[in-house]
C-alpha cells in the first residue's frame, strides 16, 4: 500500500512539475518577455508542448511502476523508461529546448542595430544527470533481480 501511495504522490509531483507548471508559466508570462524570448529563436510553444507530452507519459510510467509487482517485467521496463525520460527532460530544460546542445545552449537576437549572442555552459549538470540515470537503472535492475530471487526461492 505504501508503494502505491508513494507512486501516486510521485506521479502528482511529476505532473505538477512537467505539465502544470510549464503551462501556467506560458499562460501568465508577460507578453513582452514572451516576445523577447521568441525573437531570440527559442520556440517557446513548441518546447512547452514537448515538455507536456513527455510529462504526461512520465507521470503514467511513474504511477504504473508503483502498482506492478517489483519482480515483473513491467516494473523493470517502466523503471528504465522513467529514468530515460527524466534524463531527456533534463537535457531539454538545460538546452533551452535544443537537445543537441547538451547543456551548452546559445541564441542570437537583434535589438536596435545590435546583434547579441548569448551562450551558457551547464555541461556539469548534464554529466550529473547521466550518472543519476545510470544509477537509477542499476537500482531498478537490482530491485527487480532481488524480487525475482525471492519469488523463485519461495515454495510453490
Amino acid at each position: 500500500m505504501r508503494r502505491q501511495i508513494a507512486a501516486v504522490v510521485s506521479g502528482i509531483t511529476v505532473f505538477t512539475t512537467f505539465v502544470l507548471l510549464p503551462v501556467l508559466v506560458l499562460r501568465y508570462l508577460p507578453p513582452d518577455i514572451l516576445q523577447t524570448i521568441r525573437s531570440s529563436g527559442i520556440q517557446v510553444q513548441s518546447n512547452i508542448n514537448h515538455l507536456v507530452v513527455i510529462g504526461v507519459f512520465l507521470t503514467l510510467v511513474t504511477i504504473l511502476k508503483g502498482f506492478v509487482e517489483i519482480g515483473s517485467l513491467a516494473y523493470l521496463v517502466s523503471g528504465v523508461i522513467s529514468s530515460g525520460m527524466t534524463l531527456l527532460v533534463t537535457i531539454i530544460f538545460l538546452g533551452w529546448g535544443k537537445i543537441h546542445s547538451l547543456g551548452m545552449p546559445s541564441f542570437t537576437t537583434r535589438v536596435e542595430g545590435a546583434t547579441i549572442n548569448v551562450s551558457m555552459d551547464m555541461r556539469v549538470f548534464i554529466y550529473v544527470a547521466f550518472i543519476v540515470t545510470i544509477l537509477r537503472v542499476v537500482k531498478t535492475i537490482l530491485e527487480w533481480n532481488e524480487a525475482r530471487r525471492v519469488v523463485n526461492a519461495s515454495p510453490t
Binding site: 545590435a114 547579441i116 548569448v118 555552459d121 543519476v132 537500482k139
Partner: protein, 151 residues
Amino acid sequence: MRESRVIGVIILILQIGSFTAFMLSGYTIYQVLSSSMPQTGAGEPLKIERRGDIAEMVLTISPINRGYLPVNLSLSLDAKILGVLIASDDAKLTLTPGSREDIVLTLVVGAEQVKEIFNKEGSIELNLSARTLGNLVAFSLDAHVEGGAAQ
C-alpha cells in the same frame, strides 16, 4: 535490497546537490550580470572624451555580487572600422560574494576615427563572460553594436 538502498541514497544526494548547485550558480550569475549591464538610463553608456588629436571612449561597469558563490568575470571592449580592430581593452577579476568592483574599459583612438566608428563602417563589440562554481558553469554575452546604433 541493501545495495539498492545505498544507491537510492546516493541518487538522492546527487539530485539534491546538483539542484542546489544549479540554483546557487544561476542566481549568482544573474545577480552579477544584471548589475554588469551598461546603464542606458541617465547618460550614454560609452563616454567620449576628446583631448586634441586623441579621443578616449570610456565604458564604466560596476558589477555587484549579491549571490552566494565567487564569480570570475572577464570583459573586453573592441572598436572596429570595416572589420579591422582599431582599439581594444579588457579586464578580468574575481568577485567574491557581497563584493563590488568598478571596471573601466578605455579605448584610445584618433579623434578623426571616432566619427568613422560611429557610422555604418564602424562597430563596437562588448564581450562579457561570467564563470562560477569552480568555473564549471559559465555564461557569456557577445554584443556587436553597429556604428549608427552605438552612440
